[in-house]
Symmetry: C2
Subunit: 335 residues, 2 copies
């Protein structure tokens, strides 16, 4: 019950290539021939074999998106936008989960990509520039600043400035003991490093001290890590009056920990996050955050990939910047 060009050709009484021409929209086919072929296609419910087409054309029409974890809302939302943006090019998106493990990321970057897909959009957590150095095969677009001087195109947002602005927002509201949650060892998260830098910049510009005790590390950026870090800050006695969490899930965890400690947000402690995930628009209180334009990020990434596929593969790597804005909600509303 699975048919080939040959079956359609026999039924329509034409050559295999003519059917192929009809399928691919080649113009020089007589209308009545085209109609006969299309009828045969419909009758047999013919679908092209993509593997064969790929083998012949060198293109699959499939791109991959590799993210650390799908159930981190930021990546899920990003994935949705990438799928939508790719659809405009007629591409299917294969989504890969790396778990943020360097080994798995390396496998994705070199292995999977090799022949099944045309290109890769990659959001690495642990990968280094060296891991990418030897890969000159599949075109790749990196998201974020994890690999800063690699050979691949990139889409970034200005983490330092965004972090500075949201911290500044807290300062303008009168907060003086502003904690930060989400710092990481420097060889891990580049985002963490940049957001911490923006936070420190804002403090310095306002003449506030940078207090090590107010900076809480978080190895992962899940709700549980945010809650744990917040509890740590509360019991350590540093008494922050505001918290900048390096992403929204950390912030949601922090909200929870503050609630459990009997503290009100924003009256006792103000909270801001980063990413603008949907949860933050419905949490109690709603969450002030930096909102990267995920749709634009996805669009730019797909576009870079398209240019790379159709154009010069040896052209120097480009880095594009996507915009963001501050979403100010209840968690920082002035009392």
């Amino acid at each position: 019950m699975r048919h080939r060009l040959k079956d359609v050709a026999e039924r329509a009484g034409v050559s295999v290539k003519t059917v192929s021409n009809v399928v691919n929209g080649y113009v020089h086919v007589r209308p009545d021939t085209r109609a006969r072929v299309e009828e045969a296609i419909a009758e047999l419910n013919y679908r092209p074999n993509l593997s064969a087409r790929h083998l012949r054309k060198g293109r699959t029409g499939v791109i991959a998106l590799a993210v650390p974890e799908l159930d981190i809302p930021y990546f899920a939302e990003l994935a949705r936008h990438v799928v939508t943006a790719a659809a405009a090019y007629g591409w299917t998106v294969l989504i890969d989960q790396t778990g943020g493990r360097r080994e798995q990321e390396r496998v994705v970057a070199s292995g999977i990509t090799d022949h099944l897909i045309d290109g890769l959009i990659f959001s690495p957590l642990a990968l280094t520039a060296e891991d990418l150095a030897g890969l000159d095969g599949t075109p790749m677009v990196l998201l974020g600043e994890r690999v800063e001087h690699g050979p691949a195109d990139r889409v970034v947002i200005d983490n330092v400035t965004a972090a500075r602005e949201i911290t500044d927002h807290l300062i303008k509201l009168g907060h003086r003991r502003i904690a930060a949650i989400g710092s990481q060892r420097t060889d891990e998260g580049a985002s963490a490093r940049l957001r911490l830098a923006g936070y420190a910049d804002a403090l310095r510009a306002a003449g506030l001290d940078y207090d090590e005790a107010l900076v809480a590390p978080a190895s992962a950026w899940h709700r549980a890590d945010g809650a744990a870090a917040m509890r740590g800050l509360l019991t350590s006695g540093v008494r922050p009056d505001a918290v900048f969490c390096f992403n929204d899930t950390l912030a949601l965890g922090a909200l929870r920990a503050l609630h459990e400690a009997g503290l009100r947000v924003p009256e006792d402690v103000a909270v801001v996050g980063f990413d603008d995930i949907e949860d933050g628009r419905f949490s109690i209180p709603t969450l002030s955050t930096v909102a990267p334009d995920k749709e634009r990020i996805a669009h730019l990434a797909v576009e870079l990939l398209a240019n790379r596929l159709d154009g010069d593969r040896a052209a120097p790597a480009k880095a594009l910047s996507a915009p963001y804005r501050l979403e100010l909600r209840e968690s920082t509303r002035t009392p």
Copy 2:
């Protein structure tokens, strides 16, 4: 820089087929020959072309998972488990977003699947049994009860009983005016219909009236829909003392609306959801819910697909049931 069996063969001084045999672990290859070939493979960084292999063997090693939306946390969490379960079989998972639109679901069920993938795990929202009737090509496993008498294997949970139990939990806590949020037109959500049935069962068994005015429809099951439905219930004057939301995102929206109305949960109104998404473990208050065993669902689905691929494709369709449990948290804690 992309090499083929032929390149490896020339470098190792053997035939193409011998390299193929090494790659595929064929036993009758002399150790020294094997070593030479493996050395050549490593030197050239050879990777098999999956399209060519598929064309020849009829298998890609890729399965697809089609879900309505990736940024609905339930599906994102499910996707993670499916990817993990599939990895055990050496499969890559291609994730497809249908948006819950029947047209797109039909395309996925018939089109994409045709030649690129070995099998499909499908969570349809709008598809009907007729849409599936003509598809005898790619093996498929359906998740949920949307298509009840289709030709494909299925993994379900007992929605009616689960809904009855969680409603019963509310009744046991002393609630008498229990609202339901998430009902849909009968030709749409099968889950909605079953959960509503379980809700009605529980009321009847407890001798409580089923009051139409307490049942709020929700066309989609997002946070915003839950909030809107809850606001509707509050302004309509029916004064519920508990709410059963047909999924967790609806419930999170309802929590938000209750908060905005100045009502306390669970003191004034108790709230329960369905799905056990991560958000519900950190929301304020934390959310009581029905927790389907997503890992098991994913595992069963992958296993069914594996059996179908390796075994009898004409065997009658099987339906497997996955367990669930009640997760009782703050949103229903007794006052």
